[in-house]
Symmetry: C2
Subunit: 269 residues, 2 copies
């Protein structure tokens, strides 16, 4: 049995006492350092794998402190507080003596309650009716995802035209397909290409500094989603003095809103 590239990438070797060793993965390489989504999945995995974990992820925030260099990193995860049904986690990723990421997570034992969805699945064509991009990705991690852009894909020309808005809608899943879980959903929350590229049709240098994912799903719902596509929708609310935000939603094909996510991204000009 072949190990999926995603599972190989997020694998952590326990060093005891909430310390784990991981490695950056060439399969998820970005222009400088790894794809942020894989770093986020690795950090969350240090919580998921922890023997003291209570329940499933509800909220997860990762701050990217520096580009990881290729090679090993240490993940340190500790439960800062354990309540009856919720648990609060503090995570740090380190390379040598340097902190490369900080993170927090809330896990919880969830139980069934009244529910409702206000952000409903937009009317979009089915995944099979949307073409995948015709070219291989310019960076390696892009090849790890099957992305089918419905609206707001990569600019056809990088001519610096102001596109008026930054919205993107796409169907997406792991490539090759892999059954969805909390770690892969976290990585998928970072698949959207930078909103400023979409808005300005210009390859501005940039980097995500902080990212938050709220999970509106159980492990059972993710299992039921399986290898199906997720509809991702992302848009910026403001670009200001070197930082822009992104707010996004991820639904499965059945229309369940699995996660909402936000990030703030540095840009150069």
């Amino acid at each position: 049995m072949t190990v999926h590239a995603f599972d190989a990438a997020i694998a952590l070797a326990p060093q005891g006492d909430g310390v784990w060793q991981g490695h950056t993965s060439p399969a998820y390489a970005n222009m400088i350092g790894p794809f942020g989504g894989i770093t986020a999945a690795q950090a969350l995995n240090a919580v998921l794998q922890h023997p003291q974990r209570l329940g499933e992820p509800v909220a997860f925030t990762l701050n990217f402190a520096a580009a990881l260099h290729d090679g090993a990193f240490a993940a340190l995860s500790r439960p800062a507080r354990t309540n009856r049904s919720t648990q609060h986690w503090v995570v740090e990723l380190r390379q040598g003596e340097q902190t490369v990421a900080t993170a927090t997570a809330v896990t919880a034992l969830r139980r069934e309650t009244w529910g409702a969805t206000e952000a409903t699945l937009p009317e979009v064509p089915r995944p099979a009716d949307v073409l995948p991009p015709s070219r291989a990705g310019r960076v390696e991690w892009l090849n790890r995802y099957d992305m089918r852009f419905i609206d707001g894909g990569f600019p056809p020309v990088w001519d610096g035209a102001d596109e008026q808005d930054s919205r993107t809608q796409l169907w997406m899943r792991d490539n090759p397909p892999r059954p969805l879980d909390f770690a892969s959903l976290t990585a998928l929350a970072d698949v959207f290409f930078p909103r400023i590229w979409r808005r300005r049709a210009k390859l501005t240098p940039l980097g995500t500094v902080s990212m938050t994912v709220y999970f509106h799903c159980s492990a059972a719902q993710l299992q039921a989603t399986g290898t199906g596509y997720l509809l991702g929708q992302a848009q910026a609310q403001a670009f200001r003095d070197g930082y822009f935000d992104q707010t996004a939603q991820l639904w499965n094909e059945a229309g369940h809103l699995l996660a909402t996510t936000h990030q703030v991204v540095y840009y150069k000009e």
Copy 2:
């Protein structure tokens, strides 16, 4: 000169080495423990007051691990990583041996760049044309804010009717007025009453577990906003198995989007 209740509430006494002592404030008391927004402002203040701080806040996440009991708390803030123009903070609030909140922040030296706003100020009446609520708040902290609901105010009757959506729009500011800064903007990001009360017209027991604020402004812009009102708009995207989210925007009267904010809230039924 009288000290504003907000300044008294967020005051921290330095104990050296990134440790600060603060106190809960009766002026910002909620039903159980303090108003979450004041706890968030206190935690951010442990970064703002830190002698090693670089730049101004860009992103801030606070996780509420437990209700604070009345009295003193310790705030521990440390810069986990300092880069040329960004800095990553880890914060913890403690009472006795217990962690009551964890937080992270990103601060940065920002410089002027191309900018745009996609979430623009909705068409709403001016603050002077909107009446404040006629009754004193049922909990003390509500009296610390001047809130003028335009749309989606407190349900007139708590009859459990499904209101179909959870959106609220209001003008708000400190009461009495106080010049806006990063700490008070952070507290204002938590002023919205719980979305599930708005949606269901039912006083479900609940508590915020995690809250993130992205700042799209400089100290100078906040100073220019002064004691003016902010338009706050908030809505939930999903209510599911004991947790709902809230996504919100805060503009000043001039129409500048100063902050976007998100939170995830536990609810009982």
